[in-house]
């Protein structure tokens, strides 16, 4: 039983490493600064928001164990932002129709909420006055805020002359 969170951590770390490596290919559509800044923005907001839900509102409980915390933190600060950059790749891709862009966002939504649900289903987090509906609303609101920021940053880059 003790090995259980470690095996999850190894899997999460491997997925995160592959995801980070894959982000170099997002450069065909996104400016490198956009990739880094959107990734950092999503990670910082995600982590802060997790702080608020888990530590301030005490709605999500987790064992105070470094391995379990690392699993949660890797998901919040590496996995979700990495996936978000790929969602932006789809969203800003000039060759995709509005319908295809919506599908890219829907995939992000499914994978992001799936990752959070997996942590819960594997027993790493316990909901206390928090449910799957709230989790979906949380993921959805993050998506809207992050997308708004991505537009602002893209606009800024293009005003500074770094994007055509």
């Amino acid at each position: 039983m003790r090995l259980y969170p470690i095996s999850i951590l190894i899997s999460v770390a491997l997925i995160c490493a592959l995801l980070l490596y894959s982000l170099r290919y997002a450069r065909t559509v996104l400016h490198p600064a956009e990739i880094v800044v959107n990734w950092l923005m999503f990670g910082a907001v995600s982590e802060h928001w997790f702080y608020v839900i888990a530590l301030l509102w005490k709605r999500i409980y987790y064992d105070k164990n470094l391995i379990i915390m690392s699993n949660i933190i890797l998901t919040e600060v590496v996995l979700l932002p990495g996936l978000f950059v790929w969602a932006l790749f789809g969203w800003f891709h000039p060759g995709l129709s509005a319908y295809q862009k919506a599908i890219a966002m829907a995939w992000w939504f499914i994978l992001a909420s799936g990752a959070k649900y997996a942590l819960h289903a594997l027993g790493l987090t316990t909901n206390v006055g928090w449910n799957q509906g709230m989790m979906l609303a949380d993921v959805g609101s993050r998506l809207i805020v992050a997308l708004a920021f991505a537009y602002l940053y893209r606009n800024l880059l293009s005003k500074e002359g770094y994007l055509r």
């Binding site: 800044v37 910082a44 982590e47 702080y51 530590l55 301030l56 933190i73 940053y153 800024l156 994007l163």
Partner: protein
Amino acid sequence: MNLPHRFDVNEWFILIASVLLYTLIFFLPKRFPISQSIFIWLFNLYTANFVDFMIATEPLDLYQVNDGPDYELFDLLIYVMLYAPTAYLVIYLFDRWRPMGVKAALYLGGWALATTGLEEIAELCHVFEFSGWRHLYSIPVYALVYGLNLILFRMLRLLYTGSPKRMDKG
């Protein structure tokens, strides 16, 4: 968001230090595009958040920030108003003076010592309450974080060289 239990010396310290730092930054001549300054700001917000969550909460719980173990408004202000502008100043002055070799190491060491000094003052003002952490540990941590800031910022600027603006100039 929780408000402070009592509005006393730690809250005043955060407010005064934030106003001083941002006043200094706004009066400095602009050196980087805003898109790069946003990177510095976000990177330090991200790093401070991450480190604090890992070492200032259970199981390690090496120090406590502000009035109690609960997360409160002024905890957030520390990340947003204190850490990020300090790192901006480190990068700004490095870019202006461009120290090389030993001078660069001394520059980083100097900033690490100065920030640790400020941390001691912050502890006296009850912004931090250490329960396992020591100021001595902060020196290499700050040196590492500032070094990482400088390396990543340099990398980011290299990434800008492929941008249309630079290509037009070339």
